[in-house]
Amino acid sequence: MSSEELDIKPEDLLKFDYDPPKQDWMDPSVAFRKGTYCYSCAPKHLEYLEMANPREWQPHDKDWKLPENWKEIVFEGMRDRLSKYRSFQLFMDICVRCGACADKCHFFIGSGDPKNMPVLRAELLRSVYRNDFTAVGKILGKLAGGRELTEDVIKEWFYYFYQCTECRRCSVFCPYGIDTAEITMMARELLNLLGLNITWALEPAANCQRTGNHLGIQPHTFKDSLEFFQDEIEDITGVKVNLPISKKGADVLFVTPSGDYFADPGTFTLMGYMMLFHEIGLDYTWSPYASEGGNFGLFNSHELMKQLNAKIYAEAKRLGVKWILGGECGHMWRVVNQYMDTMNGPADFLEEPVSPITGTKFENAKSTKMVHIAEFTADLMKHNKVKLDPSRNDSLRVTFHDSCNPSRAMGLLEEPRHVLKSVCNHFYEMPENTIREQTYCCAGGAGLGTDENMEMRMRGGFPRGNALRHVQEKHDVNRLACVCAIDRATLIPLADYWAPGVVVTGVHELVGNALVMKGEKERELDMRGDPLNEMEGDEDV
């Protein structure tokens, strides 16, 4: 997949310092400079989702065409959420502004903009909360850190809350566990009440509501795509893998992000899944109705998240499967691990997940009944249930990017590493401040992975890119593996920009390379159709 290149050179992009400007942060003026914000969503998608204030507008317009009683709507929205989410109320109340979070945000590190410090991002909302929801603020106003809600404040909210990828890295360092993602989610809900949203976050959600997946792929095209990959696999391996779609009574429903069957390099990962399932004889099924693991609802509102997520259980019930297996995806797993069962459960029509191959009970998923593919595959490999030839990946020197959500919303750290180390011989970690729970975002999560936002993405991508460059330099790393569909799209321009020569890959693509299948022909090509063990790019070993 090609992305627009950013025409600012890295050395020019880094021409800033971390010293804050003279301008008081309470001044809400924001310049909407192209490259640093995302465009609005077309009204037809808002209409389809029955969301507020559908109209034509753009963030760089002077008039945002807010509803007449916009202020009332925001205050009412805040009041409602303060009474429903302890997190929101608490995070408005207890921040001491110690600044521990300040240099933990990738957007701050790559831009030096003080409003990208998590503490200040939250203060943009908190100042309004203090002004209008606390006794002290009502009396002392600005002296108590209060700030009047104006249209400029709304514009500032839009700019900065759509400049947060909800990665939760700051929350790891906060002494009170204040989670900026939670605050951003509330702020985006408030903005949505006024019809302020971005197309990259909302259009996929509208597509998903209608067709079953973000990309709007309809059932016949869905099947065509999978059949195409079935043929590809046959070309590479000589094995025609099975392709069960909407198969009632299968053991397992498999759900993966639509990026995996839509664009490279996700497609190579998808081929890896198909080969693995075929090889172990898993009785599973795809579903064109629940053809999306990802959940862009999360990037707009809790309600929309629930709407989209509901399809997975509904389909599992309709098809009568025993449990659900989920593919490589980041925010999908935030939703599955932390929201799904609460929102759309209990899944009492399913069985506690057991691997039919190894007999392993996935006790950690016994209520939600959904297992991560890395857990499933790591278990297979630990029990030597698949034959692997890791030397097929010998030309690859691999590092692993922990995606925000599988790490900080789940703790899925060792499973993908076990899989990677089983299928390739050259694995290197990036520096410890940049992986596991301290991992950096790709800067394109939470709906920000769009081309018009490329400058901000490259800025936010600087810490990840810098760490990647480090292992490229030190260990000749030429592959960046990840378990997230957004990563597989957004890390490509990031790597091209900050560590040129490193290629982005899904974990199961490398599984596909190494998997020795029954009845396969002599393997000459890798998942990409390139000759096996031929070096990529100009890198030499």
Binding site: R97, G99, S246, Q307, A310, Y339, K366, D379, L413
Partner: protein
């Protein structure tokens, strides 16, 4: 500017107490009425705030996971960073509350030049324990000092006071013995204030509400130190007053010295301010959903008390919408 407002406010408080006692003779006001009122506001305020938080639902289990989940039996999990149950969550919370675990993680970044990297710069991470050290030193000293003050509120003096006093005065320097905590807390508060000025980012975000408690606490500590070591007040009479307050038989002995009233008034100001301010982080830290919930939401269902039905595009609607295409593609239909 915010710092000046805060300093000004504390100076006004000091002057109020000083003039009120020395010029207007309002010992009863500053020695009895204000402390009673302040403690009442404190107790009611804290209970109100904590109850308010506690009654707001926690709809989702949004644990911030900082280590390996408990999944497959052969994978070593990090139960303290990713607690699989309530017990481990309690342990995680204990570390958080007693040892400031998350703050201990703190790092700081700087950019170094690196010719080989695109952009010519490299991010350097360094451990940064100072904030943690300042914070932990302040909080523990405050606790010890608070415990020491029980000698003014108990008769006979409660058992732990002599113990704490001996430990705190371990080095046996000076007469009266110098308590370490008095010096350390001064250093810690000084550092916490200093970094608000010295660190450009922290200075940028600091509100008057961030400086005010620091100045107020410094005022309390300094007036306390002055009373003990330098401008000595009559301790016996001071204790008469404090015991009177505790026993609800308030007495105001003559000649305690106005410094005592300044100290008492600043403490009263602190406790009144407490429930309305960021100082409530003391109670809030226990309720933070990202820390006090276990990471087991796939194993044990978390219930949202206000969960409500939403508009789902059902399978039946979907099949109806795409019927022709599903049929043409040979995908099984429910209603053939």
């Amino acid at each position: 500017m915010n710092a000046l407002y805060a300093l000004f406010a504390v100076v006004v408080l000091v002057l109020l107490a000083f003039l009120g006692v020395s010029a207007a003779g309002l010992q009863v006001v500053f020695g009895v009425i204000v402390p009673y009122a302040a403690v009442s506001v404190f107790l009611i305020g804290i209970v109100y705030r904590v109850l308010k938080w506690a009654t707001i639902p926690v709809p989702f289990r949004i644990t911030t996971v900082c280590g390996q989940q408990k999944s497959l039996p052969w994978i070593k999990s990090s139960p303290l960073e990713s607690p699989p149950n309530g017990l481990w969550t309690a342990a995680r919370m204990a570390l958080e509350v007693l040892a400031f675990r998350s703050l201990f993680r703190n790092t700081s970044i700087s950019l170094a030049s690196d010719d080989k990297a695109p952009g010519g710069k490299r991010i350097v991470y360094s451990a940064n324990f100072f904030l943690w050290l300042g914070a932990i030193a302040f909080h523990y000293c405050f606790l010890v000092i608070l415990l020491r003050h029980f000698r003014f509120f108990t008769e006979p003096v409660v058992f732990f006071v002599p113990l704490v006093q001996v430990l705190d005065g371990f080095f046996q320097v000076g007469a009266p013995v110098v308590y370490m905590t008095g010096l350390i807390i001064l250093g810690a508060l000084g550092y916490l204030l200093f970094r608000r000025f010295a660190n450009p980012q922290v200075r940028y975000i600091s509100l008057a509400a961030d400086y005010f408690p620091l100045f107020l606490l410094l005022g309390i500590v300094i007036s306390g130190i002055l009373m003990r070591y330098f401008l000595k007040v009559d301790v016996v009479k001071a204790k008469e007053l404090t015991m009177g307050l505790i026993g609800f038989h308030p007495v105001v002995p003559d000649g305690i010295g106005s410094l005592f009233y300044i100290h008492l008034f600043l403490v009263s100001a602190l406790v009144v301010y407490f429930p309305f301010s960021k100082l409530m982080h003391m109670g809030g830290v226990f309720l933070s959903p990202t820390r006090n919930l276990s990471n087991d939401s796939r194993a044990r269902r978390h219930v949202n008390p206000w969960n409500y039905p939403v508009h789902v595009h059902t399978y039946e609607e979907w099949e109806e919408e795409y019927r022709d295409k599903i049929e043409a593609a040979g995908i099984p239909l429910d209603k053939g």
